[in-house]
Amino acid sequence: MIPELGQFALVLALCLALVQCVLPIAGAARGNAAWMAVARPAAQGQFVFVAIAFGCLAWSFANNDFSVLNVATNSNSFLPLHYRIAATWGSHEGSMLLWVLVLTIWTVAVTVFSRHLPADVVARVLGVMGFVSVGFLAFMLFTSNPFDRLLPPAPDGHDLNPLLQDPGMVFHPPLLYMGYVGFSVAFAFAIAALLAGRLDATWARWSRPWTTVAWVFLTLGITLGSFWAYYELGWGGWWFWDPVEKASFMPWLVGTALIHSLAVTEKRGGFKAWTVLLAILAFSLSLLGTFLVRSGVLTSVHAFATDPRRGIFILAFLAVVIGGALALFAWRAQRVGTGGRFELVSRESLLLTNNVLLLAAAGSVMLGTLYPLALDALGLGKLSVGPPYFEAVFVPLLAPALFLMGVGPIARWKRAEIPELAARLRWALGVSIVAAIVVPLVMGRFSALTALGIGLAAWIIASAAITLADRVKHAGGAGIANRLRGTPRAFYGMLLAHAGIAVFVIGVTLVKTYEAEKDVRMAPGDTMELGGYVFRFDGVKDVKGPNYIAVRAAIPVMREGRTIVMLYPERRVYRVQESPMTEAAIDYGMFRHLYVALSEAVGPDAWIVRVHYKPFVGWIWGGCLLMALGGLLAATDRRYRATAREPQPSPYAAATSR
């Protein structure tokens, strides 16, 4: 009964989405206020029904209703309750439902925080979001219904993939989807601007916080995914250039470009058409990413053959949304205008260069992701593009972008002078050169790439400090404390996010250069040495979890004769799927991680143990968190709230409180 209720709710949501899409856009075109006013209630109603559907599916999972196919294939009665609920979005169908739920959450947030916007803008924005929702709801109902019944019911479920039975996986998809889908708001604003043929600084101010918040979620989602891969897969890597990772990284790169382009549009009224194009691209890549991952195209091209309806529906929807948006852009972009003029050396041109570099990076990722797929689909052979390709491309593309990050914030709008910039940044240059030489020498081994990475990171931090000092010096108000307080939050947000990039670069550079790893065969009592630490293998013992059995090794880690930590890596076998899983043990330190994974038994009591010494690896995720925090500060800046006639809570609160 409950699953049918969920299905019915989905059908009702689809009907409301159709209304939300058609009436308000038509109303905005014809100036019919009554039709436009339908947008808000329709969007809110749609949210209610999608939430009911989601609740029904979660209920089926929580109550082990194995007569639902989705539950039977992705859950098990031994699975702990919190993972049963997380299993709601662990499958293709469930994650599509989560996608739509997140979309309706964003839509409702727009209805709540758009009271100060003109009615036609709201109508168009909600209409476009309704259109996206129609596509996804129809996709679910016609090709991947999460409520399909299984008759006769299974006695027990097939269990959730053991790799997903982890707290990281509980939060990773919702965060990532908040990011992916959040770009739909920027997309909807862009389409609305094209439809209306009107785009000004106010438009940028409306869509900017939404974009930033979506970007923050995407950053957090990717960070969490990367961290999960690091501790859960047992290989000690934090980024594999896996197709799924690439699918989330492309919208991030374009979204980052969009944030910077929006800044120009808001402050200077420039880059208008470019901003609109980026907004379209960012969401298109989000859609592409969702579908690549979720349709099974990436992991197996045969998924198209096994369920052709799904593949064709996906392609058709992508073609309509992306093709339609780009066609609209081609037709209307001229009405939007390109914006103000600027000199060759100015903050605008620096931001433009940064945009081009980010886009080139995104394009190169796309080439590496889609080319093998295209070749395979055409039957021209199978190949893969190795991680060295991405590394070879990213260093030369992003090194100049990192350099410009130091210059951009201090350069003047419209026209800047190179000698003046050089004079203001000479200290930063000195600091970064010293750091580039000293840090690798202190760490023990010098290499040009390490020096480059450290130098650029120091350059970003030092120039951010100079930018801040400069700002404070020229700010009004008495006393440093007042001036610091008077500086807008968005400015701090920008500096913090840039510093986050620097921290990230330090982490990547140092871990890439100085990490060490060893696979060793160890019997009880054996010791090995890595990175100045001694690891002793004290044998294994059997332990039992709720739905798995495991062997757990005890490995004391010693330094200078003293035991500093005990590590207990496990090797689990999950009862239902009988797949073995490596559960690594990690000693987290500020400046290094010690990472031990138990691989397989060789001989009666000897095991293969994989040990990693990872200097500064934590800085990678720390830097990403700083970026997200910076984005958060920027999105909650006072001026976005000041645009409202009455005081309103920040858009961020809207996005998280549900």
């Binding site: 080139a360 590496g368 190795g386 060295p388 390709y389 593309l397 060793v520 799927q577 073995p580 490596t582």
Partner: protein, 156 residues
């Protein structure tokens, strides 16, 4: 600078940067394409000598053997028509098992043994790496007498 010259300069600079980027990307791309071959193709010596490539298929039952050092492992990868010996040094992925699909990356030595630098793990027990499934399918198409059992696990 006149606005016109300025615009031309910006466009030219942008195009030059794009050209450099495109050149970079394509060179790196070319160098890092890893082609895929089936065991039959390797046996027929259709593979480039001394270049890294991937092979895929099933791990032959009863073929996995560890050497005395405990770290070097040897096994046969088969597409049901031909088998290729593979040597790998280090810890194998969790889901590596006899009779299951596998993809290995490396190069062929002069003795015809495939020296794997990487053995790929997949995230799901029933999931067969598409390359491995493809290799088996191709071998079976050319060699009809092979049994049906191996293709079973192809789809999740």
């Amino acid at each position: 600078m006149k606005p016109r010259t300025k615009r031309i300069a910006i466009v030219a600079g942008g195009l030059a940067a794009l050209a450099v980027a495109a050149g970079l990307v394509l060179t790196a791309f070319q160098q890092n394409l890893v082609f895929f071959f089936t065991p039959s193709q390797v046996a027929a010596k259709e593979v480039p000598q001394g270049k890294t490539f991937r092979i895929g298929g099933m791990v032959e039952k009863g073929s996995v053997a560890r050497q005395a050092d405990g770290l070097t492992v040897r096994f046969m990868v088969t597409d049901t028509a031909k088998s290729i010996p593979v040597v790998y040094h280090g810890a194998l992925p969790d889901l590596f098992r006899e009779g299951k699909g596998v993809v290995a990356q490396g190069r062929v030595g002069t003795d015809g043994v495939f020296m794997a630098s990487e053995v790929l793990a997949k995230h799901d027990e029933n999931y067969m790496p598409p390359e491995a499934a493809d290799a088996v399918k191709r071998a079976q198409e050319t060699n009809r007498k092979a049994t049906q059992t191996v293709v079973g696990g192809e789809r999740r």
